[in-house]
Assembly symmetry: C3
Homo-oligomer: 361 residues x 3
């Protein structure tokens, strides 16, 4: 490795701009937290200049504790200000101020955003972009190099379209969407503040064909993709358009990288789909469903609100709202781990020996 690149700590100035400094009161307000002054000393008058992890932070940095496993680092931190839950407030070192809140991760997120705000759209169309004369692009939108915008497409105020992205004929984007490099959008309607990371494919033909006398015949895919407000899609994911109805991703839902959504699937509000999971055609997720990594759902089923589907789970039938399932086929968490334990016991007994009885997996 190039030895000169041993930058440590977040927000390498090569890549990130930085706002500030900010004083403790401003940070407390941003965090929605109670400011507790240090037992010894005072907060720096010149304000805080950035964020850093507990072990790397200095007296003018803000840090945070979110995960109980990192609690030992708290007592040794040299951070000037630390965001913590009430349970850890008395573990904050004497020289360190605290921002105490019941939602430390959210507070941290907002403080980090204050120091590192999103770069706004740089209004204008790059001269290399290929824009159909019938497309409508708001003058405040930013259109990057080598972008293609098709006939009658509409791009709203404040949108950022990354380089090489394709906005197909008729596609609509409401305001403040951020479309990553190399994204393909076709047959799609996007709400406000939709974010798509590089390389995702939205709106292509679903996987539909009929068996004909000479082989498979493609069934025309005549629906759309609708991405509601505040949807975020990771990198290299694929969302097929509907065949007859639309494929819909509900407001506020978040999809990770390499996720597959089949035609006519419908996700409710604030669903989470983690990387490499797949949802087959015409399956419905109600609101607040979580699908963990590499899980797969067959088509034409319904997942009730707030259900949680575990990693690698294989879901072959409807799941009730609020259920916690895992395994392939899916079963309740408790049952799955009971089965695992019972089978291990039976297998040991059958082999008449406990010599393989330990594992760390």
């Amino acid at each position: 490795m190039a030895e000169g690149t041993t930058f440590s700590g977040p927000a390498d100035p090569r890549f990130f701009t930085r706002a500030g400094p900010f004083d403790a009161a401003t940070l407390a307000e941003t965090a929605g937290a109670e400011l507790v002054l240090p037992k010894a000393g005072a907060v720096p008058e010149e304000g805080f200049v950035g964020i850093a992890p507990l072990q790397a932070a200095g007296p003018r940095d803000v840090s945070f504790l979110d995960n109980r496993r990192y609690a030992p680092l708290l007592e040794q931190t040299k951070a000037g200000l630390v965001i913590v839950a009430p349970a850890f407030a008395d573990k904050v070192p004497a020289g360190c101020a605290a921002l105490v809140t019941g939602t430390p991760y959210l507070a941290w997120s907002r403080v980090a955003r204050l120091f590192h705000p999103r770069v706004p759209a740089r209004a204008g169309v790059h001269p290399s972009a290929c824009i159909d004369p019938t497309a409508s692009i708001d003058p405040t939108a930013e259109i990057g190099p080598f972008v293609v915008v098709g006939a009658k497409a509409e791009i709203g105020p404040g949108c950022i379209i990354g380089s090489h992205a394709v906005v197909g004929d008729g596609v609509q984007l409401a305001q403040d969407c951020r479309i990553g490099s190399h994204v393909t959008l076709s047959h799609a309607v996007l709400g406000e503040r939709v974010i798509i990371l590089p390389g995702s494919r939205i709106g292509q033909d679903g996987f539909g064909f009929a068996v004909g006398p000479q082989g498979f015949e493609t069934v025309p895919q005549l629906g759309r993709v609708v991405l509601e407000n505040d949807v975020e899609i990771g990198a290299n994911s694929t969302i097929d358009r509907g065949s007859v109805n639309d494929t819909v991703i509900g407001a506020g839902s978040r999809l990770d990288n390499l996720v597959q959504i089949g035609h006519n699937a419908r996700l409710g509000r604030c669903c989470i789909v983690v990387s490499q999971a797949g949802i087959s055609g015409s399956t419905v997720l109600e609101d607040y469903v979580t699908i963990a990594a590499q899980a797969g759902l067959i088509g034409h089923i319904r997942i009730g609100a707030k259900a949680r589907i575990g990693a690698q789970c294989g879901v072959m039938s409807d799941i009730e709202g609020g259920a916690d399932v895992i395994g392939s086929p899916a079963m309740p968490f408790r049952e799955f781990f009971r089965n695992v334990a019972v089978l291990r016991k039976l297998a040991k007994k059958a082999s008449g020996s406990a010599k393989n009885g330990s594992d760390k997996g």
Copy 2:
């Protein structure tokens, strides 16, 4: 969500052109179906104007019933014409004509295509494309913006090459291929009517390396990818070229999104590989094999003709022709579900309680 986008029903005119109207006789011929006139009334003289799902169709729309679970919608439909299997012919409402056929889904597909034909190639090379002077491009082919065509590549009549696609040095496409945006083709030979959706990668180096004294050493990958006639590949899939032999996808086979095909794999005719499935290097599929979503096959095995590999199945050895397997490791469907049931029973007994006895997964 932008509230103005509540278009419902298929074929939003923003995205789809529409042919027609067509009279019932033409539709019957296209469908290869028997026309049954309505018990009450007649078919509209002006013909039918489009297709729609049962619950949304009007008197001048064609609809269809394919899935038994939607049968209740048939009796209430206001469609003027409906495509059904013989078993449902007497459930068609009195005012509605029927197209009766043993293959309603195929008939539907053809009728939908009649109303919404594929857009033909718009002959010509976009001025922004970067074409090697030694490449050969048929004058009837359509080459989109920012396409790169390499040295001695050959693109046949009627092909459509989407924006930003790369047709590498020497790559050959026979007639009427459709290559999506951002597709990368290298070391590849394509038959006629091959379709590749956006972002798929065809022909890159396979995953081959030898252990050398200083670490891994890449083994040169000296084969090709051959996509035979009528192959279709989904979005963001990856097909590595062969190391010594070719990687071959047989005529008429269909691959979905995010599928991985390793080097030297050979698929027969009319195989189906559903999304996120992976086939390791040098594995052979005979004809008409189906691989369901997220299944994985190790390398150097053979799957017999018409075998069906279930979702998330892990295949570690040869599978006989016609077999139906699932599970990881793969086993016959019947055995898999028997195992699941037996384990559940044993686990309940072992826990001495039936309190966890119900699940919907």
Copy 3:
């Protein structure tokens, strides 16, 4: 299939250039092998012209045997020179010379590379590329069509940047990197000789959000991606940048296609991650870990050096160095297959019948 494309054997001249001929002594030196002259006849004076598989090779071709299952082909080969392990030296046909070595696959790799050397960078920036004036590009680097290079990015000597690739603001590449078409690099620092195949996404936002009163709120992702020397990444893979710390891929590691690496993950030296596997955020792999296809690792765990994670394995906790695990949840190989066998036996007994007793899966 186009019938004219029945080229057989490796290194189709449409796609591959060829060096040579080379004499047996040169090949022996390249292979690091002992040359054994044919029992009958001599090696061709004009040297050898290429490589070919055993069944296709002729008297001026070099072939090899690596996999025991192909041993019967050795005795029938018409190759003039064959690379074999000592155990097979006496099976080489009488007219054929041999290169005998304990590492035949490595020797083969080097001989194949001798005939088909990597194409070096063609120095220069394609006129269609879009280069920020503050970027620094070594004059020996090759920058392809439609490439975008951002502000203050640095591209080292001998690098090849494929068409449509994006090298984001501030990204650094040391010498001799090869970046495929359509790759996106952002917030990333690359060592020497890093190879990335087409369509991979490096450095985008990780999947991090906090639950706010109005829905999810994105947590700023303020780390980087560091790819150390000799890392190779397949096609359409995704490596998210760190949230606070960096995501690091250790020197010499190899990732296949469609692999997902979450934010803050750290891989040691010479790790292998096969296609469609996923590693969740903040998980650590020590050196020489192998992750087979479609395996998944949850976040915040540690995998010890030289551990091997089987295909489709679901890893939910730390794994000791050197362990061999498989299954979901992960367990030792031996235990997994014992469980499979015991369950099958119990299920047969429970069903009171052996009629389903045979499978090939």
